[in-house]
């Protein structure tokens, strides 16, 4: 079981704040969108990259590494910021985000040297790729685990449900799906656009072992990750209840911050809140 000391908790909280600042800065600087969905991911990604995933920036293509797939590709500002902190992406590359001739764009492009396993940005297809990698891992008796990070809006896509059924049928207990359940999507709330409730029951009824946590609470997140697979012979689903725009009061739970860019006055205000 993964637990967290109070000292480590302070470290992680401070790291989360730094990453939020990096996200705000890179999106403000480049007038890029998707800040809300990036901010909801921070604690989950920090937990994964600094405590859970066996990945090595000095050997990014290690075949035995855990595989992390960001299926909600529009959340890549958060992933890039975490990969940079972890040492996968250089400061120079980060400084060219969303620029002509730059190293990083507004959706991730597969580049294992930077720790990016898969091109994504089109929703609803990361989980099927995760299935294949998990299946190969089982066949080859490898110990690696496959983590697929999904948005909740993304679960509107029917392709996910094909993959959810497949993973359970093939007993892929080396596969973990994380649902960033912030209850907002591009054009409205979950209730307005496509109700997913009861989400936990849906996954469980497909044969997954499901846990639900506060997606901004390191202790809860790490306790859950410490018990993977949640049940032997079943894929694990972590439903993380999150807040879109988390950490910046005027962005939290507001639909428009899915794709609104940060203006000058908003930038100053946001940074102040992240001091």
């Amino acid at each position: 079981m993964s637990s967290i000391s109070s000292e480590e908790l302070l470290k992680f909280e401070s790291l989360a704040k730094e990453i939020r600042r990096d996200i705000v800065e890179m999106l403000y600087r480049t007038k890029s969108h998707h800040i809300g969905g990036s901010l909801s991911m921070v604690e989950l990604l920090v937990s994964l990259y600094f405590k859970v995933l066996l990945v090595h920036p000095e050997k990014p293509d290690d075949p035995e590494r855990d595989k992390f797939i960001l299926s909600k590709g529009h959340g890549c500002p958060a992933l890039f910021a975490v990969l940079a902190k972890k040492g996968f992406i250089s400061k120079e590359d980060m400084s060219t985000f969303a620029q002509d001739g730059g190293a990083l764009q507004q959706h991730p492009d597969k580049d294992i040297s930077k720790g990016i396993e898969l091109t994504s940005g089109s929703l609803g297809y990361g989980l099927s790729v995760g299935n294949g990698i998990a299946l190969a891992g089982k066949y080859d008796s490898e110990d690696y685990r496959v983590f697929v990070y999904l948005g909740d809006g993304e679960l509107n896509e029917g392709s996910n449900w094909e993959s959810i059924a497949f993973a359970a049928h093939h007993k892929l207990d080396n596969l973990v799906a994380i649902v960033d359940y912030n209850k907002l999507q591009a054009a409205g709330t979950e209730e307005e656009v496509m109700n997913l409730k009861p989400l936990k029951d849906k996954w469980a009824s497909f044969g997954w072992s499901v846990k639900e946590v506060d997606g901004h609470n390191f202790k809860e997140i790490l306790e859950a990750f410490g018990t993977i697979p949640f049940e032997k012979g079943k894929p694990s689903c972590l439903i993380a209840n999150t807040v879109k725009g988390k950490g910046i009061s005027f962005m939290e739970n507001i639909v428009k911050w899915h794709d609104k860019c940060v203006e000058d006055n908003e930038y100053e205000k946001a940074l102040k809140e992240l001091e």
Partner: protein, 305 residues
């Protein structure tokens, strides 16, 4: 054709444990014995082609050599974005085996007809597109597909049992085959229209017209040298395919001819740009569309003056 391809593939898969075969709940009788022997490498992924191609990508990213099989619209069109993003962008070793090229599934209706797939697959960077013309080509294609690097779309048309070739053949993905040389006219075919093309050549011969016949089994990468040779040698060039005249073999050949200044007669023969409104078996529908040997012969004679 399909049967001989699968028999060969099964033989290869028994020897090479890196080969995985995924199906989408169709045509799995071909693999029933293998599924029994090694169920972990031969999976029925269910009626879920999108997940099947995505899963194939994950397997290929993990070093496996993967074949996916289904009826063409379901594998090539339903799962198109997975093919584009996963297979093609990453140049993964996944072979897509599509059954029912053209109007093979005549009576099943438009859901099963496949007249746009070559155009769609041909537009994808890194994708190779091959439609074997007869049993000999199909068997050698199975053998070569195993070592093909990158995504490969294999289109099975009408299941012909015979071969247009006498004796052994020299088959290579990306290299067209000259079946016979002609005097002034050449007919370039792809897929199982090769056998129709052979009959057309025989009919033309009866009219005293000695027509060249080429099997252009690989539509991408197209054997441009062979097309250029034809442009130099023949006054009239016809293409023949069981696919929409837009975007298939005819378009591919036309691109090369025009860019190389061909001044002769050129005509694409294929499925007109419309969905069939008739009901019938393949032979009946092909006749309705003017793709039976007699109609093709007449069209060639008309165009050739």
């Amino acid at each position: 054709m399909r049967k001989i391809f699968f028999e060969k593939l099964k033989k290869l898969a028994r020897e090479d444990k890196n080969i995985f075969i995924l199906g989408a709940d169709l045509g799995l009788k071909y693999f029933a014995d293998l599924k029994e022997e090694d169920p972990k490498r031969f999976l029925n992924a269910g009626i879920a082609e999108v997940n099947m191609v995505g899963t194939a990508s994950g397997l290929a990213m993990s070093g496996k050599n993967v074949y996916c099989y289904s009826i063409i619209p379901f594998i090539a069109m339903r799962a198109f974005e997975q093919i584009r993003l996963n297979l093609c962008q990453s140049n993964l070793n996944v072979k897509l085996l599509g059954a029912g090229g053209g109007l093979v599934y005549g009576l099943e209706g438009i859901t099963h007809h496949a007249i746009e797939d070559i155009a769609i697959m041909r537009a994808l960077p890194n994708m190779a597109v091959v439609a074997p013309g007869d049993v000999k080509e199909a068997e050698l294609l199975a053998e070569q597909s195993v070592n093909h690097i990158g995504p490969l779309y294999i289109r099975f048309g009408k299941d012909v049992a015979e071969s247009v070739y006498e004796g052994e053949i020299d088959f290579k993905i990306g290299k067209g085959n000259i079946i016979k040389e002609g005097d002034d006219i050449c007919l370039i075919t792809t897929g199982s229209m090769l056998c129709t093309g052979k009959v057309v050549c025989d009919l033309l011969k009866e009219k005293g017209v000695n027509t060249g016949l080429i099997s252009m089994h690989t539509i991408k990468p197209l054997d441009e040298d062979l097309v250029k040779d034809c442009a130099g040698k023949y006054k009239s060039i016809f293409t023949l395919e069981d696919h929409n005249v837009i975007g298939g073999l005819g378009s591919a050949v036309a691109e090369v001819l025009l860019e190389n200044g061909f001044k002769g007669v050129f005509k694409r023969i294929g499925v007109p740009d419309k969905y069939s409104s008739d009901i019938g078996k393949e032979g009946y529908l092909m006749e309705k569309m003017g793709l039976d040997p007699e109609s093709i012969k007449n069209l060639i004679l008309k165009y050739n003056g």
